[in-house]
Symmetry: C2
Subunit: 357 residues, 2 copies
């Protein structure tokens, strides 16, 4: 692991690379009481060409700075953080990732680590980077979502911190998520406000493909960033960029796998659970998926809202038997090709490995 | 300190009493990433009669259970927690509190302490109780508040967790609080929604005394609990109960200090910053105070909202030179009398001391 200490008095200290092990934290540490904590999630991939890659690490580093500042922790130079992450994985990657088509999850995080019980800006912080191995979390059979009702609360709100990757966005959702899990759902589809605006699925961004109710045109739709309710996901952003470039009416570069698909409109705008139900009832709902680093791009096979149970189509079956929507499936393939070096792409950042130590 | 471990598999383990010292926490501990943490704030008081007291510890214990469950941590038997707190202070109190009219702050807290990077209910938790000495925080000259504007965010919202004492309510407010502090304000007066509903002052409940704009009757007003936006403060509740019993039109027991005050209406209802400004402009704003365990009952001498600067009256000067409003001042005196054993009262719970160890 890498740790870097920061103090109000002296700023950032020299990063330390050390074996993974527990922190010693005073019981009065700010992060244990006031949720002064922020993090990032990213993966390092062992490509089919044997190379180690990060996927758009510059975006994680920039967002980590925004999240840290939002939660009253110090600002972080994104370029410096990106260097640290690369340094870390150049050493740790070779140890854990031997085989092509494998990945390891990286968790940069920052916590208010000083003993400080007063409710105020932390005067000491610790940034750390750890790596964790876990299996792919996207279910080949698709995920089933439970749309939130009033008693489950809301994930984020106007003037809150839904756009930041801070701990305070996660803990408060776990009770509802646990209850949904006990009822057999994979994730909660978080709605907001009396109109039931669709925001995020679990801790992932949410996309739907439908035929627009007015124009009848096929659209890929997700909630917008401008009101800062949802997370500016790296996968979300990449999905939108690939769809615009290769699948939209304005697509400048057709790409293998997308040639036979009907052109779509790529739209970031608010929609409600009522819109979703109406699309379903009128046979306009074509597919849905959640995306984020942990779950990657996870097709959704069903959504329940109160008594309404919607089966979401997953018309494509891949060679490995996994199901997907048409658009989600091809975008996922394109993302994989970049992550695992099937194609050369500026988003797939090759890491110079130091070899096992 | 006292610590008690809980695991999903085995439930609560036996409490351990041990010297204060750091926790060892894995870098993947849930509380460091997902804000799975909740706490309480309470004080133990050395009375004028030499006895050690807690103030309504049953209320803290009950609220701690609600907060813990809200943040997906285990439920806590309030009676058991109250016993533990009493046990702890019966041993630690004699060490730190020698002189009458002194207090020590107690912090029971619970954290998701297990190594668990998945975004899910913690499977391990640690409850702990520590004691911290700090000087009184209520300023004798009164506090000056900066009412929040849109850029400062909101503290809590419908369907959120504003009514729970969870870390996730605090960290996100520190940036705005730091900025307000840098501009010379003591706390932020948190407004909510486009109408600017007045909710809390810093991490305290907020009260105003004004003449009702329609009836002209004098009212003690604070935000209500029913929409779960604000914290159900122990001091807030006690202020309301004392005011109803001794100062309202329905007062059943007149009490020394309150006889000469005009009778008031005690009201829990929403009001907006516009209502507050209107009352000020029309000379109907009589006083304001914040209350909570840390700040006790802190008179407010000014509130600024955007370009509007309001001076809040503090007509009473106490023997020690401190200023207060008429109603806030007398309620504070009554609370002190209970806390420090000047009067016998069921809220002042005497602790059987074990003597220094």
């Amino acid at each position: 692991m890498i740790t870097v200490k920061w103090t109000e008095a002296n700023g950032w200290e020299t990063p330390e690379l050390k074996p993974y092990g527990p922190f010693q934290l005073e019981p009065t540490a700010s992060c244990l009481h006031y949720a002064t904590e922020a993090f990032e999630g990213m993966k390092a991939y062992r490509g089919v060409d044997g190379k180690l890659r990060l996927f758009r690490p510059d975006l994680n580093a920039k967002r980590m700075n925004l999240s840290s500042v939002r939660i009253a922790l110090p600002s972080i130079q994104p370029e410096e953080l990106e260097k640290l992450i690369k340094e870390f994985i150049s050493i740790d990657g070779p140890k854990w990732l031997k085989d092509p088509n494998t990945f390891i999850y990286l968790r940069p995080a920052i916590i208010g680590s000083g003993a400080q019980l007063g409710v105020q800006r932390p005067r000491e912080a610790t940034l750390f980077i750890i790596a964790v191995l876990f299996p792919p979390m996207d279910k080949p059979t698709g995920m089933r979502l439970l749309a939130s009702t009033e008693d489950m609360g809301v994930r984020a709100w106007h003037g809150g911190h839904g756009a930041s990757k801070v701990g305070a966005n996660y803990g408060p959702t776990l009770q509802a998520q646990g209850a949904a899990g006990a009822r057999g759902f994979d994730q909660v589809l978080w709605l907001l406000g009396p109109e039931g605006r669709v925001t995020e699925a679990g801790a992932s961004n949410f996309f739907v493909v439908w035929k627009n109710k007015t124009t009848g045109r096929t659209q890929l739709v997700t909630a917008p960033l401008d009101d800062r309710i949802i997370l500016d996901g790296v996968t979300r952003r990449s999905v939108l960029e690939l769809a615009r470039k290769h699948l939209s009416h304005e697509a400048t570069e057709p790409r293998a796998g997308g040639e036979d698909l009907e052109k779509i409109e790529v739209v970031e705008e608010n929609f409600t659970i009522t819109d979703l139900i109406q699309a379903y009832d009128e046979g306009r709902l074509l597919e849905a998926f959640a995306c984020g680093t942990a779950f990657f791009l996870a097709p959704i096979n069903g959504i329940q809202y109160k008594d309404k149970d919607m089966e979401v189509p997953m018309p494509v079956t891949a060679k490995d038997g996994s199901k997907a929507g048409k658009y989600g499936g091809v975008i996922k393939t394109w993302l994989k090709e970049i992550m695992y070096g099937v194609v050369d792409h500026p988003w797939g950042v090759v890491i110079n490995e130091r070899g096992p130590q």
